[in-house]
């Protein structure tokens, strides 16, 4: 064993192989379990499936290899510029006099392995134009036959069937069974799509599976499924996973639905709406025609003789009412007048009564009248010896004036047969 410490002029000269072997022993023993981070450069994927690349940083470069056995599980592709953490062991390759790191695992730095793989595939397909929005085809409004790619063992199928059953009987369904996770599932899904397109004469295809982790959904992020969806001549609706999961299949499809049930409803919507529309139109048509007939009938009635007579009859009634009403008014007015007259008469009567001379007479006054009928008011109007008539309230007297005296009324205690002067009470006469 050559060693710097035991240098001696008699030390044997090693062959290249011998030296290299010693180097290999040392390196491979010490660096048996290495974890190193660096940037990938010179990445090459050979047809054999082996990956060759260099890991480098600012100052150094490390050749690496990742054999097929190790890299078959790696979801992403190596590409220059990618920062990775590599685990493996150092290997010396004698024929070339070089060393390399034999990687048994690679993981990206700063991003999950799955996300990286997803991104890489998405970029690749986008570059090819497969995910282009302009490539999306419209979903037929009235599909007669729907193809469904899903697992018969999964809940998605049940959800889809019940959604279609509920909304829409117009639609026929053809199921293409495919495993939706696990080894080989991506290929099964792709094949199912192709089968439906080829032989089932469907108008639209639903690709569906229920929720799951990113690993569970991974076959729907595969290139083979993406290409099958993209190349399919029939429009594809993708309903994979939960609302928040987006897969490459979703991106490649012509329409993405948040869940399998939503996908089914989307597909059935058109026909369901048509059926509703038909119901509405039928109702409306019947209503409009009936309405029109009613109006026509009314018009005919209005113009008929019977109708005319009825109107005449109505008019007569109205006029009669008017007459009655006027009569009542007249009666009422007359009655009013009568009342007023009566009232007025009663009043006047009373007043008259008050003025009745009999009232005055019954109080003891008398009326003196000359033989020519003239009522004596003043002493001047009589002379002694005149014959006067004296009217009392209950009779009359024939009187002779014995002696006339001018001036005021005599005292109360006088004359039994003396005529008293008629007192003129101004207010009763003029009243």
């Amino acid at each position: 064993m050559y060693s710097a410490k035991s240098m001696s002029p008699l030390h044997p000269v090693l062959s290249v192989s011998q030296l290299t072997a010693q180097i290999r022993d040392v390196l491979e023993e010490v660096f048996e379990n290495v974890v190193v981070v660096g940037e990938i450069s010179n990445a090459k994927v050979y047809s054999s499936g082996h990956w060759y690349f260099s890991l480098k940083d600012k100052d150094a470069t490390l050749p690496c290899v990742c054999f097929k056995a190790s890299n078959s599980n790696i979801k992403f592709r190596i590409e220059d510029g990618l920062m990775v953490i590599v685990r493996g062991k150092l290997n010396v390759y004698p024929p070339k006099g070089g060393y390399q790191l034999v990687a048994n695992s690679l993981e990206p730095v700063g991003i999950g392995e799955w996300q990286l793989a997803f991104q890489q595939l998405k970029e690749r397909l986008t570059k090819e134009g497969l995910l282009d929005p302009s490539k999306k085809r419209p979903i037929p409004m009235l599909p007669r036959r729907i193809g469904v790619v899903t697992s018969t063992a999964g809940a998605a199928l049940r959800d889809i069937l019940s959604a279609l059953e509920r909304r829409n009987k117009l639609v026929n369904i053809v199921i293409a069974n495919a495993r939706v996770q696990g080894e080989g599932s991506a290929e099964e899904v792709a094949r199912a799509i192709q089968d439906l397109e080829k032989i089932a004469d469907v108008d639209v295809i639903l690709v569906a599976r229920g929720g799951g982790s990113i690993e569970d959904l991974w076959s729907f992020n595969s290139e083979v499924v993406a290409r099958a969806v993209s190349q399919c001549r029939v429009p594809v609706i993708s309903g994979v996973g939960h609302e928040t999961d987006i897969t490459i299949c979703d991106l490649a499809a012509d329409l993405r639905a948040p869940t399998p049930t939503a996908a089914a409803e989307l597909v059935a919507k058109g026909s369901a709406e048509l059926i509703e529309r038909w119901h509405y139109l039928r109702k409306r048509m019947l209503f409009r025609v009936e309405d029109r007939l009613i109006r026509a009938r009314q018009k005919v009635l209005r113009l008929s003789p019977v109708h005319g007579l009825n109107r005449y009859h109505d008019r007569l009634k109205r006029e009669r009412m008017k007459v009655l009403h006027d009569r009542d008014r007249m009666l009422h007015a007359v009655s009013n007048l009568l009342s007023k007259a009566q009232h007025s008469w009663a009043q006047n009567s009373q007043q008259l009564q008050a003025l009745n001379p009999q009232n005055v007479l019954s109080r003891g006054f008398s009326i003196l009248r000359r033989s020519d009928g003239h009522i004596v008011r003043s002493a001047n109007e009589v002379s002694d010896g005149d014959i006067l008539e004296g009217i009392l309230f209950d009779g009359s007297l024939k009187l002779v004036v014995i002696k006339k005296e001018e001036g005021q009324l005599p005292a109360q205690s006088d004359c039994v047969n003396c005529a008293r002067a008629v007192e003129v009470i101004p207010h009763t006469v003029s009243g």
């Binding site: 409004m141 009235l142 599909p143 007669r144 018969t152 063992a153 809940a155 199928l157 049940r158 069937l161 279609l164 059953e165 009987k169 117009l170 639609v171 026929n172 369904i173 053809v174 199921i175 293409a176 069974n177 199912a192 089968d195 439906l196 080829k198 032989i199 089932a200 108008d203 048509l274 059926i275 529309r277 038909w278 139109l281 039928r282 409306r284 048509m285 409009r288 025609v289 029109r292 007939l293 026509a296």
Partner: protein
């Protein structure tokens, strides 16, 4: 596919009929439209009644792929 296209065409025709009926139409025209409309409506109804709700599944055999009826009830059993 053409049958379904027919249905939609007929429905559009029916819509036109109803639209005209919505406006002021003479009685004879209204009855004409009604005739036409009812005919269309009945045709649509026949189509809808005749449409069956078929569920099939693809089967791969040695001779190729074919469709056969699918029993949805089997699904329920499998999940219990």
């Amino acid at each position: 596919m053409t049958v379904t296209v027919d249905f939609e065409t007929k429905l559009t025709e029916l819509e036109k009929v109803v639209l005209e009926l919505d406006g002021e139409v003479k009685l004879e025209r209204a009855l004409e439209l009604f005739d036409k409309g009812m005919k269309l409506s009945v045709e649509c109804e026949t189509f809808l009644k005749g449409a069956e709700h078929k569920v099939e599944i693809l089967k791969r055999t040695t001779s190729g792929i074919s469709t056969e009826p699918f029993e949805a009830q089997l699904l329920e059993v499998a999940h219990k």
